[in-house]
């Protein structure tokens, strides 16, 4: 049974020597935390240090999520842990935890290219600690923009932006439809959502989705022009275009019909069933990065067939963009990606 701080010292040594087994052997770190021997905040700090040397370490990230979960479910920890040692109100503490996690993920992402573990942890934090709060999503979108522009082949980094946009769409459309669905609502009687604060914040953080998506397209154009020959950028463009046309088919009057694969409340494993991109025909040899499951794939196909074709103006602009790239680029890869993108656009409107 874990009892002393000497056991904690053993743990530290173990982390340095062998990260894979650090959390598995005796004394078991979870026991140390649940018994109050090891302060979970200190454990998070230890994990942060470990990640500077092992930025991918799955065990470290998995354990980190367990610790965070304990911290937000205050009942699981001895009461002196949550009150005495931390001494601040829960909501503020959660905000602090979120900020800290964003920083840890950012550092780890910089230490290893396309660090899937770091980015998926970041997503998990937004889902479970931040509960996909709109303001936080917007902050993340703007604060990761520069990083993305300096890591143009980091697929995970751009996938994160796609997740943010997707979540903003589902959060905003949800708020919007909730407000729309109460036509009898007068000034004084607010039936939904649950409390007035939520209504107020929904109004305040009423996100201008078309504007956000347009900005993202401009961002994509900017990067594709400045850094020719990066598949990640073209892949990102497909996602953004898809989200735009998706939005045009649903906003503001249609009913939200989110497939389970697209549910923002899903767990980490759901990330695999969120399509990395709209389904492409087998001829698209370029985009081999999609990682969607069969379930996600067929649901996306169904959704594509249900929604109206993408607006012709949007398509036209994209074709003009492709023409511009092809006429000025001298990079072989860039030309290849541009042509593949064109082919993809064509299949989208069929």
């Amino acid at each position: 049974m874990a009892e002393t701080s000497e056991e904690v010292a053993v743990l530290v040594q173990r982390v340095v020597k062998d990260i894979t087994n650090a959390f598995r052997r005796n004394p078991h770190i979870k026991e140390l935390i649940l018994s109050g021997t090891l302060n979970p905040i200190k454990d998070l700090h230890l994990g942060k240090l470990a990640l500077t040397k092992f930025p991918k370490s799955p065990e470290t990230w998995i354990h980190r999520r367990w610790v965070l979960q304990q911290l937000i479910q205050e009942t699981s920890l001895p009461s002196f842990m949550t009150k005495g040692n931390l001494g601040i109100i829960p909501a503020e503490r959660t905000q602090q935890l979120i900020r800290e996690e964003m920083e840890v993920c950012g550092e780890a992402a910089g230490r290893y290219p396309s660090n899937y573990n770091a980015w998926s942890h970041r997503i998990w934090v937004l889902q479970h600690l931040a509960k996909l709060d709109t303001k936080i999503l917007l902050d993340e979108l703007s604060s990761t923009k520069h990083w993305a522009s300096m890591h143009v082949s980091d697929h995970s980094g751009f996938h994160y932006r796609q997740f943010l946009l997707k979540s903003l769409i589902s959060q905003t459309v949800t708020d919007g439809s909730v407000l729309e669905q109460s036509p009898l609502r007068s000034e004084s009687t607010v039936v939904l959502p649950k409390d007035e604060e939520a209504v107020a914040s929904a109004e305040e953080s009423r996100v201008n989705l078309p504007h956000l998506l347009k900005e993202e397209v401009e961002f994509s154009t900017d990067l594709i022009d400045a850094y020719p020959g990066h598949e990640t950028l073209w892949c990102h463009r497909r996602h953004v275009f898809y989200l735009q046309h998706h939005l045009n088919g649903r906003f503001p009057h249609s009913v939200i019909q989110l497939s389970p694969a697209d549910s923002p409340g899903g767990t980490l494993s759901d990330l695999h069933s969120i399509p990395a991109g709209p389904p492409t025909s087998q001829a698209m040899e370029v985009d081999g990065l999609s990682d969607f499951s069969k379930q996600g794939y067929s649901q996306e196909i169904k959704r594509l067939k249900r929604t109206p074709a993408p607006d012709s103006l949007g398509l036209e602009m994209e074709h003009r963009f492709i023409d511009q790239v092809l006429s000025t680029c001298r990079n072989v890869e860039q030309a290849r990606f541009a042509n593949a993108y064109r082919k993809w656009l064509v299949t989208l409107s069929q």
Partner: protein, 198 residues
């Protein structure tokens, strides 16, 4: 998107001489840094040695891309970057640096120079400024003069070598690499790790 080193060299008849270099090894762990620096010097020298006068080339080696410009007057520059850094900007940087260098340092000093004797201080600030390619080099159509088709692309360091020449031999014979670095190289090579050269 990262630049790791920027060097100015002289391609002499018999050997290539390092004149001045700037490094950014902050992303490497503390104990690796001096070895990494030595390997970048070694690599830069080797590349210039094996490149013809009046040529530009980019050499891929693992996750690095080494861009080299050897002028007709034998002054040469090498920038070692990652795969994301746009090569067009790298060559713009080299052009600029060599131009500036040739105006500040007398030609007479080139063949016999070394980092200690050469008086040129611009490299560190250029390296630092060019870490963000768009701040340092705003996209203008005018700058797209460089004919990218003339840039030779090598997929490995090996393709620069003569027939039968082995990189391992060149490493062990090198005067630029310390004992530590050579040992490091050997172990990495054996493990086939991702840091075989750097």
């Amino acid at each position: 998107m990262k630049l790791y080193s920027l060097s100015v060299l002289y391609k002499g008849e018999s050997k290539t001489v390092l004149l001045k270099a700037a490094y950014d090894v902050s992303s490497f762990s503390f104990f690796q840094r001096s070895s990494v620096q030595e390997f970048m010097t070694f690599t830069s020298q080797l590349i210039v040695e094996r490149s013809a006068k009046g040529s530009r080339a980019s050499v891929k080696e693992q996750e690095y891309l080494c861009h080299v410009y050897v002028r007709n007057d034998s002054l040469a520059g090498v920038v070692i970057a990652d795969r994301e850094y746009p090569s067009r900007v790298a060559f713009t940087l080299l052009e600029k640096v060599l131009d500036e260098f040739s105006k500040q340092v007398d030609r007479i000093d080139w063949p016999i120079g070394s980092p200690d004797t050469i008086h040129y201080t611009g490299l560190d600030s250029h390296l630092s400024r060019y870490q963000n390619p768009r701040e340092a080099d705003p996209m203008t159509k005018v700058q797209a003069e460089l004919d990218e088709t003339k840039i030779i692309l090598h997929n490995t360091m090996e393709s620069l070598l003569e027939r039968g020449e082995k990189l391992d031999d060149l490493v062990s014979k090198s005067e630029v690499l310390g004992i530590q670095s050579k040992a490091f190289y050997k172990t990495a090579r054996k493990q086939n790790s991702c840091c075989a050269i750097m």
